[in-house]
Amino acid sequence: MEAGMTHYIPITDADRQAMLQAIGVETIEDLFVDVPASHRFPPLELPPPLSEPELMAELNRLSEANAHNRKYSIFLGAGAYNHFVPAAVDQIIRRGEYYTAYTPYQPEISQGTLQAIFEYQSLICALTGMEIANASHYDGATALAESAIMALNVVRNRRKIVVARSVNPQYRAVLRTYMQGLDVEIVGDENPGATIADALAQVDDHTALLIVQNPDFLGRIHDLRGLGAQVQARGALLAVHFDPIALGLFQTPAEAGADIATGEGQPLGLGLAFGGPYLGIFTTRQKYVHKIAGRIVGVTKDVDGRMAYVLTLRAREQDIRRERATSNICTNQGLMALASAVYMSLMGKRGMRAVAEITYHRAHYAAQRISELTGYRVLADQPFFREFVVQCPRPVAEINAALREQGIIGGYDLSADEPHLGHAMLVAVTEMNTPAEIDRFVAALAAI
């Protein structure tokens, strides 16, 4: 036995011999007779194994070959935001009791996960104003796509989905991926600059769902009061994709009259993590409780009358309903839901509001400062939250390359998604961007 090959495998040579004997075979190979001999034991061309010190050195090298938020000032958002992650979040999710547990199918010994998810659901309901939330989807994009599936199942015999142009383009792409086999027409986002009103105008009596995003992909905040009623009057549902940080200050999806509200939970203490794992938040009305996908935790009692938590309404799920399930989701983002629950609990009412306010004020300070620069123009005709569009004197890629030399990661280059805006950069500011850092960013822009 080679040193280093067995540090995760507690079966010794002696064990192996005893077990083979008990099984009644001579060698390990005898256990694989069912595998076609011609295909048995193929060589694997993999690099030689690394010891733990070598592995950590190589991982550290790969890690340091990336820019990251301990080294760079980040003004990039576009769906992933550099908000503060309290240390307490990681302290909790790295407890083995949480992260090495499976889905809580045995409730008697899974009360920790179950209670945490119940609290997550409750916090999300309080944050959004919505009535029920499930235990999570993969990310904001897939939660949004699942809103379309649910709408198609709620509003029978309608196969049209209207999605506003101002919804994150990656999310619109995922929506189209999910819908491609379902004979659904997706419209509303064809024209650059199309507004939510334009999208609403396309909601007709073939439409199952209108999807809007608020704040939208370009950072603008919309007054959506009454939108739900208008959509519902046409027999369709309204889905609002929200930003959980904006909800510390701004209108909830419930106030918009949304039937479904989805969100990307990444800013709720998950960090950037090069894009994942993130957290798809999904909420809806109580009356659609049997239409919602994914896991849901409810409260009940045990035989001794003790309050307890359990996965409930399981008849909706794929393992029971199989081909009649509306979604195949099984594994979700449970640990990230826990992380966000810890984050929201730490923040609380005051903290959620404070993060939103700091973000808002600093973003506006940055926009104001940039708008004073020669050659730059800030599109701020509508209210915005943490992101805003800056039209630049040169291609954004060039500007970002120059910023990089200053240790700054500039905003998102909109030229591919919204070419009609010219050299447009979507700038994001959070509570992590100090005023001094914003000033450095502005100075760097001025110097380019």
């Binding site: 077990m19 950590m56 090495t100 209670q115 701004f250 209108q251 409930t312 594994t331």
Partner: protein, 489 residues
């Protein structure tokens, strides 16, 4: 030891973080856009209270780090601790997914290498790391099948064949892709019934979804022929990789005839299950199907650097950004830690452990199909001499009292009173012997003192739950009045 809902600790004015002042001249807030309820119902707590709450409830969980977790089909193997440190390195945990590729070369190299490793281990030409979970990998594959057929102008292929032993995600996936599910029977040896398969193949067959080893823990003896039959009918073969932990270095699905499969990085490749997720459902496929894969994938440039690209006929994105990157770091680390020989040892030992449990228990708990098994074994909770009302559920709950997580029960659906035991390779013979002895002890109790089984568990944080109450009068968010009513009942 009970712990009340976190909301009960809330008091006005408390906060659990120390946030900066804005530090800039304030901008007036747009009054008409503000929420009106001041976050009603949101709790207010300090950090000590939050930590204590979530620490206390964590202790009400069973986990791999606290005990044996032989949950069949779920591959509850040990999650190495170095991986947790790796995923938290600042260049992984603190990198923005959209930062310039020039600033992301470490992450891209890792993804590129992982694509190659997974391809090599499974015998596939191309890999996409984007799907977030096995079920999403399945959807990816079925959408790729659909796109491939359509691309060939073959619009009739609307059926997906699924064995009766399949995971529920398989039929659900087919339906989600707009395709029709056709069920194929299993034969007496637990294999796909070839006659039934032949009968159900047709020009409408888009493909077949198959788990191999299958959910009976058995290797499909006719796998090469099954793949040939499906291909001959113009269909494509989808491999559900949930059971891949059995065959690392033992067989390559791509060489057996599969066209596409997903990897559960959170099963085979040790990324933790997280109490339900996140996972990662990376997918691999043949060169023929590669152009349809979701993007972005990573390729190496001529100058040696790495870049993202989207395959030419891609079905589109499955999710935002590049997949559950944190899981990819862990999977990469695992493969680099084990190497080829180590991975083969993983599967050999997983299969050894399952067969050991099998032979030590099958005299009391009949094996569903009496064959050498792979990484898991399906037994039946039908104990000779026990009253009829002692069911597999009771055996499972009794295991809890002895400190074990129960196996998967009542699955696969085709086995009555199924007990599906997957020990994995990270458990010692000592633990297996203790589990075996306990199972035998419980069998004795089932005969002698069946009420003990019906009453189980009694040593868990709670006892059996009123699940009907939960579903009939659902309380799905914190609602003091509803909880008071429940407690008053």
């Amino acid at each position: 030891n009970e712990e009340p809902p976190i909301f009960t600790y809330s008091q006005p004015g408390k906060i659990g973080v120390n946030l900066p002042a804005a530090g800039v001249a304030p901008t007036p807030l747009p009054d008409d856009l503000l929420r009106q309820d001041d976050l009603a119902g949101f709790p207010e707590l300090t950090e000590p209270e939050v930590i204590r709450h979530f620490t206390r409830i964590s202790q009400r969980n069973y986990a791999i780090d606290t005990g044996f977790y032989p949950l069949g089909s779920c591959t509850m193997k040990y999650n190495p601790k170095l991986h947790e440190e790796a995923a938290r390195l600042p260049g992984f945990a603190g990198a923005h997914p959209l930062q310039d590729e020039a600033l992301s070369q470490g992450a891209l190299q890792l993804m590129y290498e992982l694509q190659n490793y997974l391809g090599e281990i499974s015998g596939f030409a191309a890999v996409s790391l984007q799907p977030a979970a096995g079920a999403q990998g399945e959807l990816t594959g079925i959408l790729v099948f659909r796109a491939c057929h359509l691309d060939r102008g073959d619009t009739q292929r609307t059926e997906v064949l699924v064995p009766d032993s399949a995971h529920g995600t398989n039929p659900a996936t087919a339906a989600m892709a707009g395709l029709k599910v056709v069920e194929v029977k299993s034969d007496a040896r637990g294999n796909v019934d070839l006659d039934d398969l032949k009968a159900k193949l047709s020009p409408r067959t888009a493909g077949m979804m198959l788990t191999n080893p299958n959910t009976l823990g058995l290797f499909e003896e006719h796998i090469v022929e099954i793949c040939r039959l499906v291909h001959d009918a113009g269909g494509l073969m989808y491999g559900d990789g949930a059971n891949f932990n059995a065959i690392l270095g033992i067989a390559k699905p791509g060489e057996l005839g599969f066209d596409f499969m997903h990897y559960n990085l959170h099963k085979t490749f040790t990324t933790p299950h997280g109490g339900g997720g996140p996972g990662s459902g990376a997918v691999g496929c043949t060169a023929e199907l590669a152009p349809y894969l979701p993007g972005p994938r990573v390729r190496q440039r001529e100058d040696g650097g790495y870049e993202f690209f989207t395959p030419e006929k891609s079905i589109g994105r499955m999710k935002a950004f590049h997949g559950n990157f944190g899981m990819l770091v862990r999977a990469w680390t695992y493969i680099r830690s084990m190497g080829a020989a180590g991975l083969r040892e993983v599967s050999e030992t997983a299969v050894l452990n399952a067969n050991y449990v099998r032979v030590m228990l099958k005299d009391i708990y009949p094996q569903a199909i009496d064959r050498i098994c792979m990484h898991e074994v399906v037994l039946r909770g039908q104990i000779a001499g026990a009253p009829k009302d002692v069911r597999t559920l009771d055996i499972a709950k009794r295991l809890i009292d002895y400190g074990f997580h129960p196996p998967t029960i009542y699955f696969p659906l085709i086995v009555p009173e199924a007990l599906m035991i997957e020990p994995t390779e990270t458990e010692s013979k000592q633990t297996l012997d203790h589990f075996i002895a306990t199972m035998r002890r419980i069998a004795g109790e089932a005969v002698e003192t069946p009420d003990v089984l019906h009453a189980a568990p009694t040593k868990a944080p709670v006892r059996r739950l009123d699940e009907v109450r939960a579903a009939r009068q659902p309380i799905l968010r914190y609602d003091p009045a509803a909880i008071a009513r429940l407690q008053g009942e």
